[in-house]
Symmetry: D2
Subunit: 285 residues, 4 copies
């Protein structure tokens, strides 16, 4: 496979010699490092690395790289993942009625900006079905009520697993997922919250922002955890507003911010540039 | 006085004909409007206006304008203030040990960017005395303890009144003023809070931001009210950070943001561009 | 018509009493001003105004307002336009192969963010036909060669006139329009240039930016004039880049900036907030 | 020396095994890597690296590290520099009459934000002498006329050399240095240009920006080369403006942008994070 690249994502306790050993491994088998980024978290003495090398001329076959790297990983007690650039992540999108984030993801993916294979769209409403059809992606509606939530989520998980979904993106999905759902897809559910977290947690953040009289609104892309709007933040951005903006204006300005911030966060995840680390992230952009 | 301008700041219940009457008043006496800005708050049906006109050729003498305008003000039950561009606001600055905001205000004022006459610097420490001397501004230290706070604040108010201070700027002053102090200078005490409010209220916001793992930090310039960090926001801005930034890095990046945001907020106040309206502001920039 | 508003866009030589006369006109006939913004250009002594009032209760019928205002306009030798909020602007979009700006405009318009009635899409390629069909908008291809340009543009103008197009948006249209075309739709053709003008005029601005080693890229929304990329600027914005970004990365980051900047510029035009003034604009946002 | 760090800045033709060899060198002698950043420029096949490690426990004495590293450097034909965190760069500042950038650098340095030892201030005017005295830094005036330029620059170079100046910062110095001066301090003279380069090269950029009607102004920090305003860009940033801003407003907004951008650029240089590469930079921030 031409231009195929391997990507190692590593974290472990920091020690002398980690970089030397990893880079020696790659160069020994004639790999050429293209990108390498590392970070040392002083407060916890944790080492993070993302290293990407060209597989052209690399003397270990693709399917045996994991096995070959195992001894180094064991020596340093690494948490690690090996990814290949040619392997697109299977992604599912959850949506309710607002469709701006959904369109943004679908259009960017079709334009080749995202490395995703979008396998499923799930909604609690029929509204976005025609969009799914236009982009030729399976669409399934799961109506959610208090009573049916647990059961419906179980069916969603079943569908997602059958489709091989590796990443779930909540594109302004207006239901709160149960902790069990989040646990099932730990660090693999990305949400867009329409505020500059931790300001304006919970419902109707634009109404909250309007009431508080802030001069800037924000959007936050984060992993979902069992605590609402408290998960590790991947990306944030802001837009300036003024007293002239009504709540409706905030909602419109916010929509165009949400879709940007969500897309950037999803792109970073798909390019294997995000380490989750406690309730924070290390983002190698 | 050449190039002298009059500025009217008005708010009242919205009704037909307000603008017509005000602009008619100015044109009748041969005033030429230079800037005019208005806002109608739909939720409360409140009308806000800032109107600035040239006094060259204006046929009412400066000292009689208020009296002449009175009947219009009464008719519409206006809250209103009349300001003159040649009259600099008397400003006092409170500071503790961090001096970056103090320097920024002093330097900008000397460069002519701010329309202030800085009459007094007050601190709870000796540290900034040499700065005050360099800029030739009176400097007074009031040590604050739990026991002496009320008494010391009374002495501060006495000094400020004797100096004619119209605006108090808290330039990273590390003491919380009593509600009585705030009440005495209602809507005339401006603070810089080193976070993007309402995120990270209270102490050590950079430590809070670091712990939460945000990707952007902020600063907020607001009027002081009896509720800590809850007063009307004048101006906010943000800086991008990453996992590489330690708390110390946040503090440095934050300092250079704080001084900008505080200066912009103070400048807007000094140019009579800010209406306080409940817990929000209307800023005519 | 409920909630119908009238909007006056005015420019003329500055004189005393203009605002008084206009606001008196509105209040005399029981109009309630909702927004009013004015600007005085000192260098040319020009007065600009945008004033918007509610027609509910206004005692002049909609169709007679122009006639009633005529005498004031004559007195001050105004350039003026009267617009109504219920009347959507008829807009045509030109596109080539890049479809991100086209989608952004179509989606925002469908979501109600833009006050446009999109009557026609014109392209020099077949590529975007299915998009036009999906949004149910007429699509016409005019192939352009050096030889056929004049003739094809004449046919385009004929089609646009037959559709009543009032505004032409070049959504990354990769042909340069003739001065005659620009003259025909003077101040009514909006282009997005993929650089921070006046830097990187002309072809391949991202390649130019990459070669120069800038740390920020930009996009510029402007009216088209006979001088390439020199027309009045409506809106600009920027994105931060680094040495890690290849030309391809700049193109992707740029695309997502272009669509935002173009949409904002078009929205301002559609809301009648832009005055063209020589080679500059006055934008009442 | 506690907390002492060594920093290697490297560039060479890209080959397999460079990172492995460097990291092996550091770990062999018990160094612990704190930061490491690398970049591969595809178009020229050039490898860039900045690697920083703790000298506590490093078994090669500080003064012998260069010698020990020499063989690796030779093997890969590296351009390289070895820096130590405890060694502050000797910096000189050139200034004319505007003092905002000068103050910003002096204050940030005194606050410990910059790793500089400011050894000299040079001006073509007397204006800033009292500032130099306040900060206790030698101040020398060299009046420049067309006739005396060459001779005065020779004296400036002599003074700078006698002071051991390693970096020259032009803090709004309003004279163009001769190519000879630039050549003498190649890649060691940093300038702030008050526009978003390459827009508005040369004199009076704010007047140019005003005339063009841009909606955003910028500032650019760059190394000085023999081509005016064409040197490698280190840092840029922008501020939003509107039709309300006069040239004087642009100058004020610009001043507060210039001092930020210059400080950030100088800080990056002082922390040995900038590679100059042809007419571009690789900035490891």
């Amino acid at each position: 496979m031409k231009n195929e690249k391997a990507i190692l994502l590593i974290s472990c306790q920091d020690r002398r010699g980690i970089v030397a050993e990893i880079s020696h491994f790659i160069s020994t088998y004639s790999g050429n490092i293209i990108h390498s980024d590392q970070h040392n978290d002083d407060t916890s003495n944790t080492f993070f690395m993302r290293i990407e090398w060209n597989l052209e001329g690399f003397t270990i076959p693709r399917e045996k790289i994991s096995q070959a790297f195992e001894s180094i990983a064991l020596k340093f007690k690494m948490d690690w993942e090996l990814k290949f650039s040619s392997k697109k992540t299977k992604m599912a999108i959850f949506v309710s009625k607002y469709d701006h984030c959904l369109y943004e993801l679908l259009l960017r993916n079709r334009a080749g900006e995202l490395e995703a294979d979008i396998v499923q769209i799930i909604s609690n409403h029929e509204d976005a079905r025609s969009i799914a059809e236009y982009f030729d992606i399976p669409y399934e509606v799961f109506k959610i009520t208090k009573e049916t939530k647990r059961e419906q989520e179980a069916r969603e998980i079943e569908l997602l697993e059958s489709q091989g979904a590796e990443l779930i993106v909540l594109a302004r999905y207006m239901q709160i997922l149960s902790p069990e759902f989040g646990e099932h897809f730990r660090n693999r559910v990305i949400n867009i919250h329409h505020s500059f977290l931790p300001a304006f947690i919970g419902a109707k953040p634009y109404h909250q922002a309007y009431a508080r009289g802030v001069k800037i609104i924000g959007a936050t892309c984060h992993y979902v955890t069992e605590d609402l709007d408290q998960g590790p933040i991947i990306e944030q951005d802001v837009s300036r507003i003024s007293h002239r903006d009504t709540v409706e204006d905030l909602i419109i300005k916010g929509k165009n911010l949400e879709k940007l911030v969500l897309s950037r966060g999803v792109k970073l995840h798909l390019e294997h540039k995000v380490h989750v680390f406690g309730n924070k992230t290390v983002v190698f952009d």
